[in-house]
């Protein structure tokens, strides 16, 4: 997504907006494992004293309310953590459940409170499920990279968390992204712990590595397609005038 959707920091409020965008860049779409800022979901940010207003937009009117709610709540939470911020209002625009989600997330209510008839629990399980998928996706990309760089399956499964120096050149960003998800799943950060494990920390045998990667790959293919679709839909949705002109 082009950066043109970002509100450019201007004047005195500029640095505050920059800080807020940096915070929002750490809020992920759980389904796509990509930041709200990079996806172009942050439409506008404004600051008035200690009060921040975030306007979010999504690719369609029907984007899943559960994911929308997670993102809106997470965005509020991250911005509330910034020093000097006392209130955060989140406005989700152009959505089937825009008013419920905006009001609920801004008031810090749970999804179950806002949609009592439709939610049978909270969103933690959903979040955890997609964290596991993101873990698999990032892991697969990292492991394929190091296999392509010449490591054998035996060497891959023998790697330890502290083995940075044994990672082939260029693999550091993928390793970092993978370690971040490992930490979120609560897997061991001990330098002596096995680096390449399944999502519960279980060991993977060298002989099973390729079959394991193939299973994980299915998730990545879904995610790639879904991301392509969502980005494309967002772009066509908010570039109406351009398309209409062509028509």
């Amino acid at each position: 997504m082009s950066t043109s959707v970002l509100i450019r920091p201007v004047g005195a409020a500029g640095s505050a907006v920059t800080t807020i965008f940096a915070a929002l860049d750490r809020v992920m779409d759980p389904e796509l494992d990509e930041s709200l800022v990079r996806l172009g979901f942050v439409d506008a940010v404004s600051v008035e004293g200690a009060a921040v207003t975030l306007v979010l937009r999504l690719p369609t009117f029907w984007c899943s309310p559960n994911f929308a709610y997670l993102m809106a709540s997470d965005a509020r939470q991250r911005v509330l953590e910034l020093s000097g911020v006392e209130r955060v209002e989140v406005i989700l625009k152009d959505h089937a459940h825009a008013s419920e989600i905006s009001a609920g997330a801004s008031e810090g209510r749970s999804f179950a409170e806002v949609f009592p008839d439709e939610a049978s629990g909270d969103l933690d399980e959903l979040r955890a499920r997609f964290q596991r998928k993101a873990f698999g996706t990032r892991q697969e990309q990292f492991v394929r990279f190091i296999l392509d760089a010449g490591l054998t399956p035996d060497e891959v499964v023998a790697l330890r968390v502290g083995d940075d120096s044994r990672i082939p050149r260029g693999g550091a960003p993928l390793l970092r992204a993978y370690l971040e998800k490992r930490a979120q799943l609560g897997l061991s950060g001990d330098p002596a712990a096995a680096l390449i494990t399944d999502e519960s920390g279980g060991a993977i045998a060298a002989d099973d590595l390729l079959a394991y990667l193939r299973r994980v790959r299915r998730q990545r293919v879904s995610m790639v397609m879904n991301t392509a679709l969502c980005r494309g839909l967002l772009e066509t949705r908010y570039s109406k005038s351009v398309t209409e002109e062509r028509l």
């Binding site: 899943s64 559960n66 439709e118 939610a119 909270d122 299915r218 293919v221 066509t236």
Partner: protein
Amino acid sequence: MYRTTDGEEIFVVDGHLHFWDASPGNQKNEYGTGWIDCFYGYHKVFTPPEYLWSLEQYQRYSESTMLRDLFVDGYVDVGIFQPTYLKEFYVNGFNTTEQDAVLKEKYPDRFILNGAFDPRDGQQGLDYLREQRERYAIQGVKLYTAEWKGDSRGYKLTDPMAYRYLEECQRLGIRNIHVHKGPTIWPLNKDGFDVADVDQVATDFQALNFIVEHCGLPRLEDFCYIATQERNVYGGLAVIMPFIRNRPRAFAEMMAELLYWVGEDKLTFGSDYAIWHPRWIIEDFINFDLPEDLKQEYGIDLTLAGKRKILGENVARLYGLDIQAHRRKLAAQPLPEFDPGQAYAVA
């Protein structure tokens, strides 16, 4: 009928068609507006410029537009209607069996008409199912488990009433159950894309075929898993096919997955017309080759024979359509002349 440069003829069955009415007068509320706007986004995101429609044309298109797009320009020999009712959003429904039946009745050999049911309609709904079977001899139904009804935001195939309906389908000889498992309006905290309910009913209803439309996208991995477990589960490629033009690598990776896990005998082509025009999708698909790295990695290929199955043979088998006999029948029924000036009115 698609003719390859070698003169080989490929019989095309488009497994996923709509003849909808989303005109402003039929929109009941903002959801109806939001629905067609969302569909229009899907249209715009993948459609090549020369096939783009205006929103107005997209909201409602004529019979002759549809006939020409499919059978004159689009290589399609036979098309299958998959109704989507949405009566909460549209006054007369979005795309009902009755709306589609208008074209089926005029061109009986060109279309296969599917019906629909909703287990939340109780006993009355069972009567309606029987009525559709009696009136239109339907062999299949399209189910949209995410459909809103009153306060309900959807149902599962494993709900007790859904079982009664599936039993009735089995009894009536309605063999093909097309289930929308793809981009949807429903999921709240439950994952509405979840295909687990298909897994269970496919086991319990061995005489029925379950065609998972859109292959569970964006949960392809879950769909692949159940499709390998169940003999009677198929994948409908609507929504997946149009990636072929501007996301070819993503399309290739997905086809590799589907061919590896599900296999070329259980995948069926669908344009999802009028979301997309079948012509460019079919042309691209015929010319598509799986990249070498994916062939190597998965140990699979997509040959012309495989494409032939996906474009028509597989779904023809599900509907008991004898391709050779049907070709002869269609050859004897020329379509009406269409005014070429109407073609792609806005392109």
